[in-house]
């Protein structure tokens, strides 16, 4: 597949996955690669953390934070409730409103994303989705509210968000995982709930921190006594080969259990990704996209 075709699949891409799998990194890499290809890119984060903005600091990508209280205030203002909006925002009533109708905090955020998606100011909007177990409830909020709220502006909002979710030309979800047992189990579970309950299009799965490659040769006689007793070359080679074999087995299992294309991003010799690592990861992403069926 051509990179351009990949990035133009849908204008809104929500990146989702459990905590610790590198969701923010993947969001940054997608945004970076698309911007490099000449697209006008907006990256959105939802928690008010600076990590995404730091990663994308020296790129043309615009970074925006959308939090529920702000989105609710904007929403109320847009509906002629400016005075109340101020009061709600300052007195923490958002908790109350969100409790009266769970998902309302999510739907105002999704509503805002939908609004951005309808504008023509960006070619691609990549969202660093909510962390941990919240991703599914976030995506499900529109459907849930259809049951509890039977009329009014919130219901209209939910209907419009669902319409966007169900249109693969407008929105897709990209799931992120690591090549390890538990993250892969959780990814498979998430993929099925997202498809069944939300009806949103799933893009390729992105697997982070993949270390494949030819097995390291293990020639005997390089044990703990080698190099004046300082290193154990043999144990190092065996360890690497074990980890690689385990990763390969997990990736094979993922292919068998989930009919989605896989994009593998390599493990870099760094602990945590910084802005300077993005070009290398974008290169890897482009190579992997080229291998996808068109």
């Amino acid at each position: 597949m051509e990179s351009m075709q990949f990035f133009n699949t849908a204008r809104l891409v929500v990146v989702a996955g459990k905590g610790g799998v590198g969701k923010t990194t993947v969001t940054a890499v997608l945004a970076h690669a698309a911007a490099r290809a000449g697209l006008r890119v907006l990256a959105v984060e939802l928690e008010g953390k600076p990590v995404l903005a730091d990663l994308l600091a020296n790129t043309t990508v615009e970074v925006m934070t959308i939090t529920a209280p702000e989105a609710l205030a904007d929403y109320l203002e847009a509906h002629g409730l400016k005075r109340v909006a101020k009061r709600l925002a300052t007195s923490g009533i958002i908790d109350v409103v969100a409790t009266a109708a769970p998902g309302i905090d999510d739907i105002v955020v999704l509503g805002k994303l939908k609004q951005l998606e309808r504008l023509d100011t960006h070619d691609l909007i990549v969202v660093d989705g909510p962390a941990a177990g919240h991703a599914i409830t976030f995506l499900l909020s529109a459907r849930g509210l259809m049951d509890t709220v039977r009329g009014g502006p919130i219901r209209t909002q939910a209907e419009e968000v669902l319409e966007m979710f169900n249109d693969p030309d407008r929105c897709q979800v990209i799931l992120v995982t690591l090549p390890e047992t538990t993250p892969i189990n959780e990814l498979i579970e998430t993929a099925y709930s997202v498809e069944e309950k939300v009806g949103v299009q799933l893009g390729p799965v992105i697997v982070n921190g993949v270390d494949l490659g030819e097995p390291v040769p293990v020639s005997a006689g390089h044990g703990p006594d080698d190099h004046d007793g300082q290193v154990d070359l043999e144990a190092a080679a065996e360890f690497r080969n074990h980890r690689r074999a385990a990763q390969r087995a997990e990736l094979d299992r993922l292919s068998t259990d989930l009919a989605l294309a896989q994009i593998k991003l390599p493990q870099l010799p760094v602990a945590g990704i910084a802005a300077r690592d993005l070009p290398a990861l974008s290169d890897a992403l482009e190579r992997q996209i080229a291998m996808l069926a068109g």
Partner: protein, 376 residues
Amino acid sequence: MSTLDEIVDTAEIIVSCGSGGVGKTTSAAAIALHAASIGKRVVVVTIDPARRLADAFGLVDGLTNDPTRVTVAVAPASDRDRDRDSAGTGELWAMMLDPAMTFDGLVRQYAASPERAERILANAFYRNIAGALSGTQEYMAAEKLYQLHRDERFDIVVVDTPPTRHALDFLDAPATLTRFINHRLFRLMMLPARGGMKVLNIAAQPVLRTIGKVVGGDVLADAIAFFQAFEGMEAGFRDRADAVSELLHSPVTRYVLVASARHDTVVEARYFAARLVESQLVVAAVVINRLQPRFGDITPAEALAAAEGVLATDPQLAAMWRNLAELRALADAEEAVIAPLLADADDDAVHRVPLLDSDVHDLDGLREIARHLFAP
């Protein structure tokens, strides 16, 4: 600060905290398994609805809101032979928190009458509070800890916190819920009830009318009905919340910080440590999971030079040196990342767990982790 050996010896509650994906559940399970192997009666509580704890313990039916006994042998055979006296009494139990069910139990306990309790439990607004209000999960975790701590069956409660930035919210969760219930909006909802006004009139108040416009009238009516039914229960809830809060701040409760060698998880771990200090609590020990093993003492540059040196004569050996150089580069990068965390902690309170050559998903894996956490 202490070693985990000291903590398991003296603590009655051990809280495992850290960000998502750092191995909190695994650490909690390994600590519990070890405590049982030295003769303690342990219950480990997970808040993560994923099956990983149940799977690791081989509990095919999964876990519920009540403790299930893990029937497998908790100690390896050699330990049982060596320390027969104490090991024989060890028990391992596990459970998964169900916040809504725990909340229902509290409502039944504090409601003025069974009828009043049923009215609350059936209310749609209450179901939302019990199921989805942010902070409820943390509060119920604290409540469950309190119940298990008083349960005669257990010597130690090990708890795994939710995988969010708000994981430590349970420290002030009791106060948060009280604040929620005492919110002036709710007082507004309840006031007219005392005056005998009808729900319809309450809903006509300007603020409520606005909220009603946004969320719909029936949703609002449910909320008002809830607060009317809840009236009179606040005092009971508040006293209980105070008792829970006191337990969380008492010296029998020890906090173990879990991190992995990645920049973001170290930042989060230090954030958790700061939150604990804010609450006048201390980090008792630090666990750093999944560290690259080192295979000896050499720099990546030296290993690469060694690879160059033998490339012409022995390409296989050169590949082995290159592999070592790559692993060592990763290990060094990790060391730089965890440095700030190490600087904050006493040396003997830091427990390093290496990345194993296969993933941990059963009792043998947990025993392997425990071997790195506790003295032999």
